[in-house]
């Protein structure tokens, strides 16, 4: 009886870890003809539901082109299937293989590199703190000991804590939100002193929520950045065949000019959140 139990336990363990880990995701995708993309669905401007309920955003457009380029690389027609991932599941589902890639505004940090691999960055940005102009002009330093909101399971929590520690400032009180809009609303209501995440996300979210952002407007960003953000497509750890495929698909997008088109649509001069491509300063990685 005991032996039977042990054998079956071992069988489950092997089935759970060993057998599936060997195969490259590229082969899996090629065989099934289905690309399962993990896409977040509530983060402007990357992927969100607009007022009409349609899924739109930078990453949605990016994914559509990615599939086309990947099709050319793999050589078989691919069916795109989307999985709604949350910020909590976007890493663990890649790890477990539930999704082939995750395109979910996922910042390439060292800690995440321990668990999954990332493609070349397809977007880069920095992190500042957004504040309410009614409370006066602010610098990063003024947030020592103040209440700062962050989106749960973004990398901001650890990074801002470490940055303040390194500068020798009093640690801020951190308040977690499970949605960016909720945080921006709390900021406008005066419930928190600042809200932090990647600048593109917080600016777009604030504008979609109907607040003005900028010098002398309702909300504004601190000039100093405390961290950089490099978004990469998340792929399975140690699967370089598959990572290469994704990288090439992204390169092709860049070469064909599709990337420029999508970028201009969401971050060009006429968009809601203009970030000129190329002038955006690359910043060093932050450990952690």
């Amino acid at each position: 009886m005991k032996r039977l139990l042990l054998t079956s336990l071992a069988a489950i363990a092997i089935a759970a870890s060993g057998a599936f880990a060997q195969q490259s995701t590229l082969d899996v995708v090629k065989k099934s003809g289905e690309l399962v993309v993990g896409l977040g669905m509530e983060c402007a401007p990357f992927s969100y539901r607009d007022a009409g309920g349609n899924l739109v955003g930078f990453e949605v457009d990016l994914t559509n082109v990615l599939v086309k380029n990947l099709e050319a690389y793999v050589g078989v027609p691919l069916k795109l299937r989307l999985e709604n991932v949350t910020d909590e599941t976007r890493i663990s589902w890649v790890q477990s293989g539930q999704i082939s890639v995750s395109v979910c505004h996922c910042n390439n940090t060292r800690k995440r590199q321990d668990l999954i691999d990332f493609s070349v960055p397809y977007f880069w940005d920095g992190k500042s703190v957004m504040y309410n102009n009614a409370k006066g002009k602010k610098d990063l330093k003024d947030f020592a000991g103040k209440t700062i909101g962050f989106k749960r399971s973004s990398s901001s929590e650890g990074e801002i804590k470490r940055y303040f520690e390194a500068q020798g400032w009093t640690a801020p009180v951190l308040k977690q939100f499970d949605n960016h809009t909720a945080g921006i609303k709390a900021l406008a209501d005066g419930q928190i002193d600042g809200f932090t995440d990647d600048n593109s996300i917080i600016i777009s979210t604030a504008m979609l929520a109907g607040y003005t952002v900028g010098e002398g407007k309702k909300l504004n960003l601190t000039p100093g950045r405390y961290s950089a953000a490099y978004y990469g497509v998340g792929v399975k750890e140690n699967d370089s065949k598959w990572r290469k495929a994704i990288d090439f698909a992204l390169h092709d997008m860049w070469l064909s000019g599709d990337y420029q088109k999508i970028y201009d649509k969401w971050f060009g001069a006429k968009s809601k959140c203009p970030i000129p491509l190329g002038t955006n300063k690359m910043e060093p990685f932050v450990k952690g």
Partner: protein
């Protein structure tokens, strides 16, 4: 499954322990508040004049049938505007935590009031009349006849409801709350977001709830064994 060893290392294990302590604290506050509101409402619902009873029946129906998550999201996001319009001042920072406790307690108090009321209702009318005939004052009838029996009848149900309320505090993670005052389920989700490991913190949180409910059940069993509650001394007399 990938076991990430660092979930049970510093500082994450500390987060979980703090979360467990917060669960105890939040549950204690919620339970106290729920009993303070629920018991008087239940008693008055049975004994007060007619118009008060109608109002209290409305109160019980309102909060008993209120699902917790929509109730919390609605109150937390609409309260700031409402407060501003009523008082002209911004709502104090950190109100969410207290609002959370009040909302969960109100939800539980609806159930508690119903339990107390059905405890009172199950005592036959004849006992009150008999008490009056024997020359007891109305106050004596209430405190010598009704209350002891109602307490005895409703204690097990009350205890079960409070254990349920303890488990209900796990919805705190849908609200904006300062990370240090999150409960154990919230800390589990926070670690899941930080370390990308779901299984370990969730299993820890599940274990915490199981241990807490086991302890509370044991406590309830001990209380219900008390001769004052089993009513043995009445039988012996």
């Amino acid at each position: 499954m990938n076991f990430n060893n660092y979930v049970f290392a510093a500082p994450y294990f500390g987060w979980l322990l703090r979360g467990a302590a917060n669960t105890v604290m939040i549950s204690a506050m919620t339970a106290t508040l729920a009993l303070l509101v629920g018991i008087p409402v239940g008693i008055l619902r049975q004994m007060a004049p007619a118009f008060v009873r109608v109002v209290l029946a409305g109160f019980i129906t309102l909060f008993r049938n209120m699902p917790l998550v929509p109730f919390l999201l609605f109150s937390v996001f609409v309260a700031p505007d409402f407060f501003l319009q009523c008082t002209g001042k911004a709502i104090p920072i950190g109100f969410e935590y207290w609002l959370f406790i009040v909302c969960v307690a109100l939800n539980a108090s609806g159930y508690i009031a119903d339990i107390v009321r059905s405890g009172l209702r199950s005592i036959p009318e004849g006992q009150v009349q008999a008490g009056r005939v024997l020359g007891l004052s109305p106050r004596q009838v209430i405190f010598r006849i009704l209350v002891p029996q109602a307490v005895r009848i409703s204690t097990p149900a009350l205890g079960t409801r409070l254990i349920h309320t303890m488990k209900n505090t796990s919805v705190a993670m849908v609200l904006p709350i300062v990370v240090d005052s999150l409960d154990v389920a919230g800390q589990g989700a926070r670690i899941a977001g930080e370390c990308f490991a779901w299984a370990e913190p969730l299993v820890f949180a599940a274990g915490t709830y199981l241990v807490f409910s086991l302890m509370l059940e044991a406590l309830l069993w001990y209380i219900c064994r008390n001769p004052l509650l089993t009513g043995r001394e009445y039988d012996a007399a």
